[in-house]
Amino acid sequence: MTAIKAESRRPADETLGEALRSHGISRRGFLKFCATTASLMALPPAMIPVVASALEKARRPSVIWLSFQECTGCTESLTRSHATTIESLIFDHISLDYHHTLQAASGTAAEAAREAAMRDNHGQYLLIVDGSIPLGNPGYSTIAGVSNLDMLRETAEGAAGIIAIGTCAAYGGLPHAAPNPTGAVSVSEIITDKPIVNVPGCPPIPVVITGVLTHFLTFGTLPELDSIGRPMAFYGQNIHDRCYRRSFYDRGLFAETFDDEGARKGWCLYKLGCKGPVTYNACATTKWNNGTSFPIESGHPCLGCSEPDFWDMGGFYRTLSMPTGHFSTALGYGVAIGAAAGLASALLGRSERDKARSAHEKVSVDDLDKGGSS
């Protein structure tokens, strides 16, 4: 676990436990809160008591949310998140000091709020970023006349940690897709000296966003990450491995088109381009829309949206094992090159042999003995 302490308490701040009690939440209510929160963070139920004692002591952090080259889908995903009671308790408890889509203030006042938060909580605030950062030309995306790059650098400087929400912030996402006209890059390509948690997805599952925030709030640390900066708790498992259609894959039963018998019977979508085997996300377990379903359950192959470069994975509907690019053309060239080179080589060989045959000196019995016959 990345050990950064979110000691963002202002002296007068109360802990989360105190806050809940002052809201008139009973002890049973607190237990319910802890159980659902642990579940939200994808922690095993055995961790509920640990969560309870941590939540009891959790302090109110300051949060700054920056949005760059993005579509607001991530924010939409979060604000449409279903578990309003619990989330609101948590979000009530954080101090969202800057979020230019959600905040009422605008213009100079908004920027002033950001600067104030940065100044007051220097070294302690949490920075959330959605959207990628254009490096091609600073003018491609600016906020209050400040380029995304400058704003990120400036705001990251005093942050305790950064959460990159959505595939754009985490890996460049759609703006980064070939040919990447804006020179879009991820947060981690610019900021290298701060702990960064990537919460990719297009958008990320809402409870995954809140789960990560809750983790930070609860334990004051960033969760354990995988090799590309994603929390193991949510991105530790492979979609394909956890897919309820996996047994069809193993039995070799595939939907070949979107309206064939296999599709109707809910067979594996591998051949339709499912990126489940290379995708790590919580979709198969957490699901979407209040746990109703997830794309594969709805009959659509996984796009792999939580993976870097998923836009460029050779096509959403192209089977994972199929080569991308100009494979068949390459084979065509191969045949042509091989035929030409083969012909040249063969003719060379034949001419050597022909030369040898025309230079053939008849061998007689007198020509056999090395040592003797002079």
Binding site: R353, V363, L368, D369
Partner: protein, 429 residues
Amino acid sequence: MTQPSLEKGVNILREQIDGPVAAFFSSCVHCGMCAEACLFYTETGDPKYTPIHKLEPMRRLWEREFTFAGRIKKWLGLAPPISDEELEQWQPVVYDSCTLCGRCSMVCPVGNDITYMIRRMREGMAASGNAPQGLIGATTRAVKLGSPMGVKLATLEAQARHVKISTGLDVPFDEEGAEYMVVLSSMEVVNYPEYLEAITRIFHEAGKRWTISTEAFEATNSGIQIGVSDIAAELVGRIVAAAEKLQVKTVITPECGHAYTALRWEGPNLIGRPFLFKVRHILEVLDDLREQGLLQTSGMENDRITFHDPCQLVRRGGVVDPPRNLLNMVSNNFVEMEDHGTMNWCCGAGGGVSANEAADEIRLKAFKRKKAQLESLEVETLVTACANCRIQLEEGIEENEMEIPVVGITEMLAAHLVEHPSSDEGEQP
């Protein structure tokens, strides 16, 4: 007169590379199964006798000069040329321990005809002066004296007189328009004259006109064994000239394996044109006579007998059924060896090995395979159809203190021949 040279050898080796050779070298995966099929490996356990390994210098030449990657290797200095020392070093495995028996070619899982390549490899070996002395001597005698053993016409004429004395029948020489022209191996003339008497009687009974050419009675072809096509062609040419001069329909090769290969299969390719006559092995002719009812026998051998398949006749020649048909005519106790027919084990002396003193030791070692085969069968008589095999078998049997007589099929048949009264002597030898 020129000297053999590496340059000449390599040049001739280059001439030998063709599609099959390239396909065979490309396909070898070094699985070692050819070794398990080669009696020189099985009887010595020495991996250097692995058939495909015997071709290493030729493989290197092919790779260097006939493959794209090999040319690059050569250009980078990674594929050194063949040296005379290397060829000299390879002489024992290419000549002494290969009888061209072709058993390896039968088992190779990728289908390599290794024997086909060794035959070709010997062309380069001989032209570079790396053929064994014994074979050079035999070849020289074949070309200069007309027989590798130095047998002259006078000897044959003497044998013909013996036949006349014992059977009252004439051995016809130089008869134009005869149906058959018989050629003989020197060994038959010197060591096994029974053969000449047997065919004289059989053809007489069958009422066939046959003849022997005084200009070309020698069937063996050392050129094939040493691997000099120029010489082989010259030797074949003598028979072709005689047969065409006498206008015979068929030339009959004797109980000799490689003579059959030389005349029947290599012959037309050596002289560069199809023959105007047919070439048949004596067993094929006898089997035809049997079918036509022109070969009648009486009585049966009761001895437990088996047949040793001469490699060049059976595996490399395609004469598989005739010996069996003929043996079953005169034997009611004919048993097959465990590996027989096209999978038979060589006697150990073919392909020029018997003419090569350097191979004497290993030749007798290789016989152990045949010895084991014979012992497991417990036969009383061993029949074969190749004088060269027969000498090796007799020598091996004697060396190993076994007591099994070796006979040729033709003489065995003649012993049971039903002879009609027109002939005065009804007595059998």
